[in-house]
């Protein structure tokens, strides 16, 4: 199993309570106003809500020092978007694993039968309908009706399978973007197919909530299905799906005979190859929000096993050397290159970007279970986008888009929220 709390005992013990996980590294900080990186500690202000506080909680749990699991403890554990910002910040200094102990704490609690009641609805829906949204499985392929796209579940063959993801399949506003994506790929001459009603959840939400067993079932069956379909590439619009396929699927020990791409990588490639060309301008001042799962969380995680030696009384030497995921190798440039190449666009960066990006607030089931935290987090991002003069914010994840849009509606602002595919379609 991949989420074992005891595997992180050393990391959790070594947490110095320095609190550097609560902010982007000093050298990256641009203003006091946007100097937070963790939605949870920024909102609730009590150490236990931070990455470091979660390490202390995980350690107490692993060492059997928590004899009663209270509702309040569960609330703390799940009032976290699992965005990984604490992990990137800690690694700027201390190289501790922070995010995986957070996941493992949840897996440990879930194994004991502790989770939020709302999670059981999400998991029930996964078990019965193969999606996280309590929607009928049979309707999963409906978004593609009339598109004339190949359906691999009916035995058709294609070089590329487009995995839309739960939200793009079922949310009427977002499924229009999935349709646009397929049309764009076809326009660029890509031999693309979908899995129709046989497409299933990627398992990302289950994994991030700690329901590891449920995750493994979805991940294994997706890998097997894509291998059996003989596709060379799996392209997805969902950043959560991409993140989990890139960072965690490879740990399951199953051969993956395909390459996983996010739609931004593929569109960037097609634009650079001249297979898609912009012909219309988009005169607006636009900023880009890095989805956590497309950015810092999409690096393939390499669990470390080996021996540690302390030298000079403080430095830890590891044998073999440990591969540390710092979030540096996320997908940052392809979406930016796409935006910059749109004629007439004025691209402007926000303060917290790339591996130190501020989360939209929707991750790891927070949107479904604690919408107040999700919307507050999004409203902080909206304020940041406006502070740099953004008229529109572009993103590349269904959850970010849905959450940012809802927050804009709620706050009554005039910031436009675009999916990157919408931008590309409008500029072609």
């Amino acid at each position: 199993m991949i989420l074992e709390l005891k595997d992180y005992l050393d990391d959790m013990k070594r947490c110095a309570r320095c609190s550097l996980c609560k902010w982007p590294p000093l050298a990256q900080m641009k203003s006091w106003r946007f100097s937070n990186n963790c939605p949870s500690i920024a909102r609730y202000n009590f150490h236990t809500y931070s990455g470091g506080g979660r390490m202390a909680l995980g350690l107490a749990l692993a060492e059997g020092r928590l004899d009663t699991i209270t509702d309040e403890l569960l609330n703390i554990v799940y009032r976290c978007t699992a965005c990984g910002a604490c992990d990137s910040s800690c690694k700027y200094n201390a190289e501790l694993e922070v995010l995986w102990p957070i996941y493992s704490t949840r897996a440990h609690l879930a194994g004991m039968g502790y989770f939020l009641p709302e999670h059981s609805m999400i998991i029930d829906s996964l078990r019965k309908e193969d999606n996280t949204l309590m929607k009928p499985k049979a309707d999963r392929g409906k978004w593609a009706e009339g598109l004339g796209v190949k359906d691999l579940s009916k035995g058709e063959k294609a070089e590329v399978v487009y995995h839309a993801g739960c939200l793009y399949c079922y949310d009427p506003e977002l499924s229009a973007i999935a349709r646009d994506t397929v049309l764009l790929l076809k326009q660029a001459g890509v031999d693309v197919g979908i899995r129709g009603s046989q497409e299933t959840c990627c398992g990302s939400t289950a994994f991030q909530l700690g329901f590891q067993g449920e995750f493994i079932k979805f991940a294994e069956s997706n890998i097997d299905d894509w291998n059996a379909a003989g596709v060379a590439r799996v392209v997805t619009s969902c950043a959560c799906g991409f993140g989990i396929m890139k960072s965690v699927y490879p740990l399951l020990g199953r051969q993956m005979k395909f390459e996983v791409l996010h739609i931004t990588q593929y569109l960037d490639e097609l634009l650079k190859q001249g297979k898609l060309r912009f012909s219309r301008s988009f005169p607006a001042r636009v900023t880009y929000h890095d989805p956590c799962n497309l950015g810092r969380k999409s690096e393939t995680y390499v669990p470390w096993k080996g021996t540690e030696k302390k030298v000079l009384g403080q430095f830890i030497l590891r044998e073999p050397e440990k591969a540390v995921s710092r979030g540096w190798n996320g997908v940052y440039e392809p979406p930016r290159d796409i935006i910059r190449s749109v004629p007439g666009i004025q691209f402007v960066e926000m303060e917290r970007i790339m591996e130190y990006s501020w989360c939209c607030g929707a991750g790891s089931g927070v949107k479904q279970t604690m919408n107040d935290l999700a919307l507050w987090t999004a409203s902080e991002r909206i304020a940041e986008a406006k502070s740099v003069g953004g008229e529109a914010i572009v993103t590349a994840c269904a959850w970010c888009e849905q959450n940012l849009k809802e927050a804009v509606r709620q706050t009554g602002g005039n910031l436009m929220v675009y999916d990157i595919v919408e931008l590309v379609r409008q500029a072609l």
């Binding site: 569960l74 897996a107 194994g111 502790y114 009641p117 329901f211 067993g213 493994i216």
Partner: protein, 262 residues
């Protein structure tokens, strides 16, 4: 009318095969991290049976679960699905009881609740599949017992039950109070809604320890677990040669007889 539904928390029978482990020393299935226990599937059917009767005739449905370490979030699902009350019989001495002892504890709880018209259990639990607890519980309570029910109706103080049998179903009637064990053919437990989840937070959840029950000494275990292991599956493939298909078939029959399979 009061209906008691006995529900058991079990290791998830749908956990991924690759995660299934047995600890041969402890003779236990090791629940993998991140795989929560679930309500035993037939017990979910039993709860649905009770809720259907409540919907038709009005009744108070009380879910009861017994064990040494019970997961509230897992068992609270009974309340979210519609049970009016949840009673947890939790005590270190209830660890790993066999079906007979478990039935004794459940019977003590039913007696303590008092005025119970029906007790529903699943036909068997998905961990050990013994299918004994419901019947022994009826014996303990002195109630009639009807097993493997696919439909339950109540009229004129009588219960009318359709039972699953090999080639269809049979109809059995009994007076109340009685115990009925429920089959999956009765139907899946209803979906939980968000409103039901928040309503469930206000429903009563009681905790009864061994000392709270008027419990006779529990019988010593009648079954001894000698070993627990994952059976090895071996496949050997042998081809039967023969000059003609008939000769090959004769050779095959001979081999099967040698192996004692014919």
């Amino acid at each position: 009318m009061q209906i008691v539904v006995c529900v058991k928390q079990v290791v998830d029978p749908e956990m991924p095969h690759s995660a299934f482990r047995v600890d041969p020393e402890q003779k236990r299935v090791v629940p993998p991290p991140g795989t929560p226990p679930v309500l035993s599937p037939f017990d979910q059917n039993a709860l649905e049976a009770a809720l259907q009767i409540r919907d038709r005739l009005g009744a108070k449905v009380i879910a009861v679960s017994m064990g040494s370490s019970l997961a509230r979030p897992v068992l609270s699902r009974t309340l979210a699905a519609g049970a009016d009350e949840l009673i947890l019989l939790e005590d270190p001495s209830f660890r790993d009881l066999d079906s007979f002892a478990a039935a004794g504890v459940l019977a003590a709880a039913v007696r303590k609740i008092g005025e119970v018209d029906m007790v529903f259990t699943g036909r068997q639990s998905s961990d050990w599949d013994s299918g004994i607890t419901g019947c022994v519980l009826a014996e303990e309570l002195g109630f009639p017992c009807i097993t493997v029910a696919s439909k339950v109706e109540i009229a004129d103080g009588q219960v009318r039950v359709e039972r699953v049998i090999a080639d269809g179903f049979e109809v059995v009637e009994a007076p109340l109070p009685c115990v009925v064990t429920i089959d999956s053919a009765l139907g899946e437990l209803r979906q939980v809604t968000l409103q039901a989840l928040s309503a469930a937070r206000k429903k009563p959840l009681r905790l009864w320890k061994a000392a709270d029950l008027d419990l006779p000494p529990l019988p010593p275990p009648r079954c001894e677990l000698l070993d627990l292991f994952v059976p090895k599956r071996e496949t050997n493939c042998e081809f039967m040669d023969g000059d003609t298909p008939g000769a090959a078939a004769a050779r095959l029959a001979e081999r099967l007889r040698e192996e004692g399979l014919l």
